[in-house]
């Protein structure tokens, strides 16, 4: 009796939760879309030329003319932050797209196929995984030279195995489920099993990881910028803006806080979205 009551509360709660989740999904998606729009139309939105130096106006504190102040070259920080949305968000998105698609494909293939080819590819992925990201990126930058695209390439090289392993793990844990075996027994082709049964049931964690990875990658790129291996000056990119302004934390804090908050908000938004996507895809609420 008591149990039943409790159960009904849970059901009601989860219904409420579902509604909330849907609202959150819409809100966060909308915010991300706004962010993307800002990035796309950055050059139309900027109040000043983000690259125009005016040494006479260097390090002005935020006021009505320059809402976020100016940097040490006298460039308008608001304009640079808006412009920076483009390079920062797009490079992170590109990076995550590359690694999630490639990684998942490889992971599914390995997990499904199994056997020798699986262990060979997994060993290769081990080799890549074995390199500390920063070090590998540094080595690549040494070969290709610095620059944001090279940083993306370097990070992609070492990040795909994470998705491969995740996908493979997922495949391993569901491939012997009764419904898959049933599909196999009924003579479904591997492609059909993968696309119809495996992928839909494993997309959740991958999608969540990918969304959450956008933020992580954004910060890895910022870390590379810190070492001078990311975006090259004068490109407005949040990571390099932060590392260039870091010595002004105590004297002109807005120089580092403006791009810092931009990264912070963006990463947070993508994380919130990822979290919500996870909630939406949660099998329990889906039922």
């Amino acid at each position: 009796m008591e149990m039943r009551l409790e159960k009904s509360i849970t059901v009601r709660k989860s219904k409420l939760h579902k509604d909330q989740t849907t609202i959150k999904l819409y809100v966060f998606s909308a915010l991300v879309v706004v962010l993307l729009l800002i990035a796309v139309f950055a050059s139309q939105l900027v109040p000043y030329d983000p690259y125009q130096q005016d040494l006479g106006k260097a390090l002005l504190a935020p006021d009505s003319n320059h809402l976020l102040g100016t940097d040490r070259y006298g460039r308008d920080l608001l304009s640079r932050v808006i412009m920076g949305a483009q390079s920062t968000i797009f490079s992170s998105l590109l990076l995550v797209a590359i690694i999630s698609v490639i990684g998942t494909s490889i992971g599914v293939f390995c997990g499904y196929k199994g056997g020798k080819i699986d262990s060979i590819i997994m060993r290769i992925s081990d080799v890549f995984l074995a390199f500390p990201g920063m070090v590998f990126a540094i080595a690549v930058a040494g070969v290709l030279g610095g620059g944001i695209m090279n940083a993306v390439v370097a990070l992609a090289c070492i990040s795909w195995p994470k998705f491969a392993r995740l996908a493979r793990g997922q495949v391993l844990s569901i491939k012997n489920m009764p419904y898959i075996s049933a599909a196999k027994l009924s003579g479904s082709k591997p492609a059909k099993i993968i696309f119809k049964h495996l992928l839909p049931n494993m997309m959740g964690p991958i999608l969540v990881t990918a969304t959450l990875d956008i933020g992580t990658m954004m910060m890895e790129l910022a870390g590379l910028s810190f070492l001078g291996l990311g975006a090259m000056p004068p490109i407005a990119e949040w990571g390099s803006m932060m590392s260039n302004g870091r010595s002004m934390l105590q004297t002109s804090p807005w120089v580092i806080l403006a791009p810092g908050c931009a990264i912070f908000i963006t990463v947070m938004l993508f994380n919130l979205l990822g979290d919500t996507v996870r909630d939406v895809l949660d099998p329990q609420t889906k039922k």
């Binding site: 149990m3 939760h17 909330q20 262990s119 060993r123 290769i124 081990d126 080799v127 995984l129 074995a130 390199f131 500390p132 990201g133 920063m134 070090v135 590998f136 540094i138 080595a139 690549v140 040494g142 070969v143 994470k162 793990g169 391993l172 844990s173 012997n176 969540v208 959450l212 933020g215 992580t216 910060m219 910022a222 870390g223 810190f226 070492l227 990571g239 932060m242 590392s243 870091r246 934390l249 105590q250 580092i256 810092g260 990264i263 912070f264 908000i265 990463v267 947070m268 994380n271 919130l272 979290d275 996870r278 949660d282 099998p283 329990q284």
Partner: protein, 312 residues
């Protein structure tokens, strides 16, 4: 089990070969000419003949694979060459700085575990309540700031304003607190969320529902069933995090003047000291692979499904 470990150890050989080959190739490409680099760093002004002799002495005039093999034999005997900059043996320099990094890595993992597991479970259990929102909010914040920024803020507040810890240094337990915190904040923020997600997932599984229906106490469900299953994911994540941690220490060590291999690597990169970078890459990779192996064994032990799969 023993058979499985043996098998995995044998599988290690190609990985190690792969790692060494890849780092050798990378550095080989990056360096251009090692002898030029060597003399550039010592001031230049050396004739081509001297350089040619040096190349022969170092075996650099031989085909790529021969060079690789020689180099591999060198590594096996603990000879990784001499630094271009300091002229000290690379291997010894590296080994002398390794303990500091391992120390920092271990304290960071410990701090991460201590923070993320209780917080994660707490958030999962109190899903969609104030505690959950608070914990998630904090993890979002910790997860959304680049490490170097966090470290600057930590130094500013804890060392400068509150004067709790020294800004830098290698002495005493006080000086490890800030670098540890910096590394742990980012990781804990990430893993708290992961732990929460994993525990939630388990909590929503049928067996938990079943157990609840049978009237098993919530605490028992949590500690015996849920945590054990969730451990699988958590252990994997922690193992994976060692990789990013080992790489991540580089920046943090440089900021806090922590005299470990990460700082050594950054300094060597700035000075283009290729033998040193190479040693760092390989050693970090090897350490990581070994940790990975241990994880797999643990994984194997924890999840009977995978055990059957792999032994079958």
């Amino acid at each position: 089990m023993r058979k499985y470990i043996g098998k995995r150890l044998i599988q290690l050989i190609p990985i190690i070969l792969g790692i060494t080959l890849m780092s050798f190739t990378l550095m080989h490409t990056a360096t251009g000419d090692a002898v030029d680099a060597l003399y550039d760093n010592s001031g230049g002004g050396v004739t081509e003949q001297v350089k040619a002799e040096k190349r022969a002495e170092l075996g650099l005039d031989q085909p790529f694979l021969v060079q690789y093999t020689n180099w591999l034999v060198g590594i096996a005997t603990g000879d990784m060459g001499t630094s271009y900059i300091s002229n000290q043996p690379v291997f010894e320099t590296f080994v002398s700085k390794l303990p500091a990094t391992i120390y920092l890595t271990l304290t960071s993992i410990l701090a991460t575990v201590v923070i993320s597991i209780p917080f994660g479970i707490l958030a999962a259990v109190r899903q969609n309540r104030m505690t959950d929102y608070l914990i998630r909010g904090m993890s979002f914040i910790g997860n959304s700031m680049p490490g170097f920024f966090v470290s600057l803020l930590l130094i500013y507040f804890f060392a400068l304003k509150l004067k709790l810890f020294p800004v830098m240094g290698n002495d005493g337990w006080q000086s490890i607190c800030l670098p540890t915190l910096t590394l742990a904040i980012a990781m804990a923020a990430k893993y708290t969320r992961q732990v929460r997600a994993t525990v939630l997932e388990e909590l929503n599984k049928d067996y938990v529902m079943g157990a609840r229906a049978r009237g098993v106490r919530e605490m028992v469900i949590l500690w015996s069933s849920v945590l054990k299953s969730a451990m699988l994911t958590i252990v994997t994540l922690l193992a994976l995090s060692i990789g990013s941690l080992l790489g991540g220490t580089a920046i943090i060590e440089s900021i806090f003047m922590w005299d470990g291999v990460g700082k050594l690597a950054v300094d060597s990169i700035m000075a283009r000291d290729y033998p040193m970078i190479q040693a760092y890459v390989i050693w970090m990779a090897l350490i990581y692979v070994l940790v990975n192996l241990l994880t797999d064994i643990l994984y194997h032990y924890l999840d009977p499904r995978i055990r059957l799969e792999q032994e079958g």
